[in-house]
Symmetry: C2
Subunit: 197 residues, 2 copies
DNA sequence: TCATATTAGTACTATACCGTACTAATTATT
DNA sequence: AATAATTAGTACGGTATAGTACTAATATGA
């Protein structure tokens, strides 16, 4: 009846999930370790038992978000019975639903956290960079399917399409936050697809 | 022979320009008022003579960047002898030159500063939102010219094009920083234009 | 000239917050 | 049962930093 089969201490998981939300909502710099302790209900001493520093916790949070989005995107890419555009739209719908749930605060955790990092290279920043380099091929594969199935015309290569799409949607996520307009995500995606026909 | 005709105290200007760079490079939260004082060479007491708080200084910095980019974009939009694409490319070239000058740190000051702001609405955040709402019509006008001159086909409206372009380039700026790849800006723009032909 | 605005310097306060130390209880694990 | 891992609690140290107080010098403008 144990929830926790893999020896991951329960509190460690709670702390990661709590601070993932807090860092995302309030920002890394505006979230104190005492905040994390209070909101999670885990004692501060226990937090420092699991994480040697706040930055160490940040790295764990980034791993958490990486895994979270990796799964989300995997679902979209491998639902091969649907058209590429409908897979894109359903993926973005789940994204924009989450964003409106959090009242337009915090569009993309990776960019948000990267921008809140210090100038110096850190493990956190490296992990974020790595996430994006891993992400692009997934989108390229998606558009390759779209080209192969004749859904999009091959005016530009699948590589360019995937890269451009990722870039565009990243911009849409951020601008939807800055302009408080969650509809931007879907309209951007639709316009993008229109240009590909 | 006075540089300073409009009664703007010299030090005030120096402080704004210095902190514009520091906030951009190091980040708002990682820049102390003592840093600003040391780098600018203006005494801290004098800084607080001109700005009642650090956040007040931030607002001035955002106004500075707004004006800076407004001018840059104005030049691009109203150089009507050139083709739209070449105006876009030359505008983006000046952008990416600046970015490589600062060694890929700090892509878009507005997004960077917005992401570093606290959750609560602030004057700074409002000014950034305002900047982007003002920015979009300028790009729309640019693409309207492109359609009118037959440079782009009207597969989507000039409104959609302008909005999509702004979104895409914003994403390119950010991802060029996160992935440390300044070429992304130009390649993104070129691919974007290719899709419009 | 005289008032006002701008400047530097120095010292200081208040506080938020990361991280540590230590104790002791409780919960796995073997 | 014994050992190790996980947990809470409490208190505190150290430091960075926003902002203030006050004095006094210098520039500016009327």
């Amino acid at each position: 009846m144990k929830v926790n089969q893999h020896k991951i201490p329960l509190n460690k998981k709670i702390v990661i999930e709590t601070s993932a939300q807090l860092f995302f909502d309030k920002g890394y710099g505006y979230t104190s370790m005492d905040d994390v302790s209070m909101v999670s209900g885990v004692s501060k001493s226990n937090i420092y038992y699991h994480f040697k520093s706040k930055e160490d916790l940040l790295v764990a949070v980034i791993e958490y978000w990486s895994e979270y989005y990796r799964k989300l995107i995997e679902q979209a890419v491998y639902a091969k019975t649907l058209s590429v555009e409908s897979r894109i739209i359903s993926f973005l719908n789940s994204l924009s639903m989450e964003i409106s749930k959090r009242e337009y605060k915090g569009s993309c955790p990776f960019i948000t956290l990267y921008m809140q990092s210090p100038m110096e290279p850190t493990d956190a920043k490296r992990k974020i960079t790595f996430f994006f380099t891993r992400l692009e091929p997934a989108f390229v594969e998606l558009f390759q399917q779209g080209i192969d199935q004749g859904e999009f015309q091959g005016k530009i290569t699948a590589e360019s399409m995937g890269s451009l799409f990722l870039t565009t949607m990243e911009g849409a996520l951020l601008l939807s936050e800055v302009t408080q307009d969650s509809s931007k995500i879907i309209t951007t995606a639709k316009n993008f697809c229109k240009m590909l026909y």
